[in-house]
Amino acid sequence: MKPPPFKYYDPTAQNEVVGLLSSLENLKLLAGGQSLLPMLNMRFVLPDHVVDLNRVAGLDFVEADAGGGLRIGAMTRQRTLEFSADVAARAPLIREAVLHVGHRQTRNRGTLGGSLSHLDPAAELVTAAVALDAVVALRGPAGLRQLAMSEFMLGYMTPATNPDEMLVSVTFPALPAAHGWGFVEFARRHGDFAIASAAATLVTDAQGRISKVALALGGIGVVPLRMPELETGLLGAVASEALFADHCRACATVEAMDDALVTAGYRQQLAPVMARRALMAALQRSGGGAATQPH
């Protein structure tokens, strides 16, 4: 197998990329290549132009902001997310999610921005970004604009990025230092895309009452799903496995994807289990207790 013929560009500045995006038709941006290269090799995509982002300046960084949040460049490798002390301290959910992403050989190349732009609904980083209320920054000819994940995801593998825009960074708002987090997934093999996954963050007060909770389901709907009613229903309640099990039953009624290998009904059966386990993992880590990080 080999990719179809295309013209290759490797600019070094973001405005050059935007210029190419504005002037060329049928162009693909090449980030880490861990999804685009298989698609090229198998000729699922036939771009006339491939613009490589690997030499573009200012896209590979993890920046801890003064408010406790994180801003991460689009070309930051998944390996960097795995080993970044700032990520581990401020958004440990990202680190836990990234350990499920492919394998070390693909994480060495794969990027945060590539994963979000590819927008596979089963992708762990997309699911984590949804749970964390991430905000993406897109650069176009008119400058930067920011979009919440909920606005960024238009549909199945369809980001809201305009044809003349590129994803440049992702901001993860601050969470209380004592928040708990959990990411669990069901996949046939370690490193595979999830058949179903769930990401949760949780904040409890001294009495164990839930003051803040976020839950996202991955691999189930056409985009990762937040469960706003379920989240609201948990606020103020004393966290327990029985409470989560009860409320997570609602996850069985979400609209689920059906494909050749996994039926929608199976995904709906997995969803409440994944949700409960993610919330339980988050509960066990909330309150600033000693965190265990399974590899």
Partner: protein, 163 residues
């Protein structure tokens, strides 16, 4: 900026300079095999799943089928050909694979050796669990993996004893 269909590239492979003029669509794996005649890097699935084509790019393991050769311009690549000594003597890891039945048909072996080479360089205090997680990115259909894990652990012990 204009796009290219072909490009001249220069890179280090196993410490030696290599140059070629290649189609921009050529993968690094095909470049190693076809342009540089380094056929130790094997191609299994050609879409990033099997791990047979794993090489090191500036010391990090990557799928050579999921990179374009032009992306390796100016970089240092290490392949399985660089592991044995100049006299052909197997290195500690390779010898351990021979001793512990870490291979049968040998097709996946180059990728596995390169993955483990990165792991050992990264973190010398690996556990068996770390080895198994690292090997999850390499598919072997002969050994059942136990021989590979045994070989990796033995090589690790021998390397530590040399420190």
């Amino acid at each position: 900026m204009t796009g290219a269909s072909r490009r001249a590239i220069k890179l280090q492979v196993n410490g030696k300079p290599h140059a070629a003029e290649v189609d921009v669509r050529l993968t690094l794996a095909d470049c190693l095999r076809q342009e540089f005649k380094l056929t130790g890097t094997h191609l299994g699935c050609e879409h990033g799943v099997c791990g047979a084509c794993t090489v090191l790019l500036d010391g990090q393991s990557v799928r050579a089928c999921l990179m374009l050769a032009v992306q390796a311009d100016g970089r240092a690549v290490a392949t399985v050909e660089g592991l044995a000594g100049a006299d052909g003597k197997l290195n500690i890891l390779q010898q351990a694979f021979k001793d512990h039945h870490g291979l049968q048909c040998g097709f996946c072996t180059p990728g596995i050796l390169m993955t483990l080479t990165e792991c050992f360089a990264d973190k010398p205090d690996l556990t068996e669990q770390d080895i198994r997680v690292a090997l999850s990115g390499n598919i072997c259909r002969c050994t059942g993996y136990q021989g590979i894990v045994d070989a990796a652990m033995d090589a690790l012990r021998k390397m530590r004893s040399l420190l």
